[in-house]
Symmetry: C2
Subunit: 207 residues, 2 copies
């Protein structure tokens, strides 16, 4: 589960922590206020006292975990360094993020499909602007320098990298049952895959 607050001292944080775990595991519709209260060691009435409604509590949770995941996945692209380095570091670090936040990708994708209005607009656009100014800019520069192939589109490369990184974790139950391996074997496989992924991408884009 996601550890949002290591040691919540006040009820408000304890509720948010418990709610995060339950919502991420069961989704908005599957989550029960009673279960959240139990996990927080409090009673239902307090959830409403602090967050008014299930819906408002959910939004608080969603915004928080969404930003967490984005921080974990996107921050590398905001550093200004050679593109190949960015890619290698990203794939080296992404596994840790995705293991820590196991269920987050599917949770976010699903809730966004259920209700596209929950997106945190401000965050998205400002975040992408930063990626544009660093990673995308760097790609164009290295295309000029003859390091990267001319035909490479920054946005598509970005989407490709995220796809290769995130999808296998989202599809973990499918993959494990397909191949007939258990969870730990799956994570071993992902671990072994890291370097290969960077090679896979770099091989594609180098001039």
């Amino acid at each position: 589960m996601v550890n949002l607050n290591k040691h919540p001292e006040n009820p408000e944080e304890a509720i948010l922590k418990a709610a995060s775990e339950i919502f991420i595991e069961k989704g908005f519709d599957g989550a029960r206020m009673q279960e959240i209260a139990d996990k927080a060691g409090l009673n239902k009435a307090l959830l409403h006292y602090y967050y008014r409604s299930k819906d408002k509590l959910f939004r608080a949770v969603f915004n928080k975990v969404f930003q967490r995941l984005m921080d974990g996945l996107v921050s590398v692209f905001e550093e200004n360094m050679p593109v190949f380095d960015t890619i290698r570091i990203f794939f080296k670090e992404h596994q840790e993020v995705l293991i820590t936040y196991r269920h987050l990708p599917v949770f976010i994708l699903n809730e966004l499909q259920r209700d596209p209005n929950i997106v945190v607009d401000m965050f998205n656009t400002s975040r992408l602007k930063k990626v544009r100014n660093t990673f995308f800019h760097r790609i164009e520069k290295e295309k000029q320098e003859g390091i990267i192939r001319q035909s490479i589109q920054p946005m598509e490369l970005f989407i490709n990298i995220l796809s290769l990184s995130v999808f296998p974790y989202a599809a973990k139950p499918l993959i494990t049952s397909f191949i007939g391996i258990d969870e730990s074997a799956f994570f071993d496989m992902m671990e072994a895959r890291k370097d290969g992924l960077a090679d896979f991408v770099i091989q594609s884009i180098k001039a």
Copy 2:
């Protein structure tokens, strides 16, 4: 929405069709038997008459749409032809499948995360066996022939191709809000991306 039965003549099929649309859109927990009945033009009692319980109705739906999506995505890999051709044809056809079944990937990934026990085991293993005997076998052969790089792992390549193909559609709400485009612009972007994706992969694996 997914059109499972064009013109359902009998109630049983009408229910399954309506249930598919509702379950895929709202998930198991978010779906309402009443809404399914309304959409099918029948009453709740009939749903229970034909399918006993919400859970059983859901399983009937899930098994069906799961197999549909797999057919659409995996069948190309079961044809015996040069690997590069397989890849090009797959990316050429995948868009159509994923537009037709828009919400299916997230639906399936989410329900599998919610309850990993719903996997249809028999189907998976037999299906993968076929892919192994054709696509995987072909990769090994072309490695011998010096067409494909020695370091390429068939299973990982397979996962990579599916990731590149499916993830952007699963993350559609995120991508559109990120870039600030609408649905139709998104599909245009995906359409334009097809050829580039095949190039992206082939560039990576060719010797």
